[in-house]
């Protein structure tokens, strides 16, 4: 944003302060900065998987992959979900508590998956569902937290998020979360790695085009954790981030790192309004 020359230095300083907040306000209003504008409406029968210009990865998937996701039995992710269902009522840790001891039936988790990642005032940091579950384990149950990409954590995250299936993603970027949102947005738009690419180059600029045999999606997060056929198992969003960073010959960051947490908030926010699909199936 350009400043007018007539402004006095002090006014300029104030203007710059204000300018910062104005710039973000505009950034969140103009969605074309975050999602590539879609000239075509969502394909017939898949309208539920679109919201404004946002398109779920479901739309980009092949029909065969969608069929797998549509049937809870054929969806291989449910092997993990079923284990998590047993885990839900199994007491563990020094407090001898299970998830059920505090939360009751898992149905009580309805709506929770739609609002994470979320700023937690208690610890003063951003939490996603994985971190929230592990916090329950270490604080409430006094049990060892699960490893990030472990079958247990992936299963439990899917089980909790699944209770909100079909509900619109609705993460908040107001208040203390704003700082993380801006950090995530910056990461998304910053060129990194030997190929000198940012997230946006594939997922905004080239969205809908082919990169060799790959149809580039918008990189929406509403389906995670996802059963990826390539992985032959469930995987977290951060695993996907690591995969993307690796593909563009950039440094892979650690699962749960502050950078990926901020990115998760930004990427999830881009899909506000899309239905929660976890656990989805992707190729």
């Amino acid at each position: 944003m350009m400043m007018t020359k007539t402004k006095k230095p002090i006014a300029l300083a104030v203007g710059m302060l204000l300018g910062l907040s104005v710039a973000t306000a505009q950034a969140t209003d103009d969605m074309s900065l975050h999602i590539s504008p879609q000239s075509q409406p969502a394909p017939e029968g898949l309208e539920d998987y679109a919201h404004g210009d946002a398109r779920s990865g479901y739309i980009y998937a092949t029909e065969e992959t969608r069929t797998l996701q549509d049937d809870d039995f054929e969806n291989p992710a449910f092997l993990w979900v079923e284990k998590a269902q047993e885990q839900w009522s199994t007491p563990e840790g020094d407090a001898n508590k299970s998830c059920q001891s505090c939360h009751g039936d898992v149905e009580s988790m309805k709506g929770v998956g739609a609002v994470y990642p979320k700023f937690d005032p208690e610890i003063g940091d951003l939490l996603n569902l994985e971190k929230r579950i592990n916090r329950c384990r270490s604080e409430g149950m006094q049990a060892t937290p699960w490893k990030w990409e472990s079958d247990e954590l992936l299963g439990m995250t899917s089980l909790v998020k699944m209770q909100s299936r079909g509900m619109p993603v609705n993460v908040s970027i107001d208040g203390p979360a704003k700082e993380y949102f801006e950090k995530g947005m910056k990461f998304y738009n910053t060129r990194v790695g030997q190929m000198d690419l940012a997230c946006k180059h594939c997922h905004i600029d080239q969205n809908g085009n082919y990169m060799r045999a790959e149809l580039l999606s918008q990189g929406q997060a509403n389906g995670f954790p996802t059963y990826r056929l390539k992985w032959q198992k469930l995987g977290s969003l951060h695993r996907r981030f690591r995969g993307c960073n690796n593909n563009i010959r950039a440094e892979k960051l650690a699962n749960g790192s502050p950078e990926y947490m901020a990115l998760e908030l930004y990427v999830t926010w881009r899909g506000n309004g899309l239905p929660i699909e976890a656990p989805s199936v992707r190729k």
């Binding site: 039995f73 054929e74 291989p76 092997l79 079923e82 284990k83 079958d151 056929l229 032959q232």
Partner: protein
């Protein structure tokens, strides 16, 4: 560890005589092909489900031999014509000698 394979089966609880019903089965299994190398550069030994068998009232109704190219968490479904009420028994045979089983009952309608 929670790595123990977990079978899942979807079969009808009730069916009418003469009906053709679909039975869906799957099991969580890594289906290690024996062709991959580990971090130490050595081959990871093959460990797959090599055979699947479905029985109804003790009689074999379907069986399949599986090979290393079959993906992890193998999914198998098949159709059966209903003649009588009874119990399904599904068996997955692991390379390591273990057999995972799951049972399900089916009643006749009416």
């Amino acid at each position: 560890m929670s790595k123990a394979p977990k079978p899942r089966v979807k079969s009808p609880k009730t069916a009418a005589k003469g009906d053709v019903v679909t039975i869906k089965t799957t099991i969580s299994h890594q289906m290690e092909s024996g062709l991959r190398k580990g971090k130490d550069g050595k081959l990871i030994p093959r460990q797959i489900i090599n055979k699947f068998e479905a029985l109804f009232n003790g009689k074999q109704i379907m069986s399949a031999t599986l090979y290393p190219s079959i993906s992890a968490n193998p999914y198998i479904d098949f159709d059966m014509k209903v003649e009588e009420a009874g119990e399904f028994e599904f068996k997955w045979f692991d390379d390591n000698g273990e057999v995972y089983t799951k049972k399900a009952k089916m009643q006749l309608e009416g």
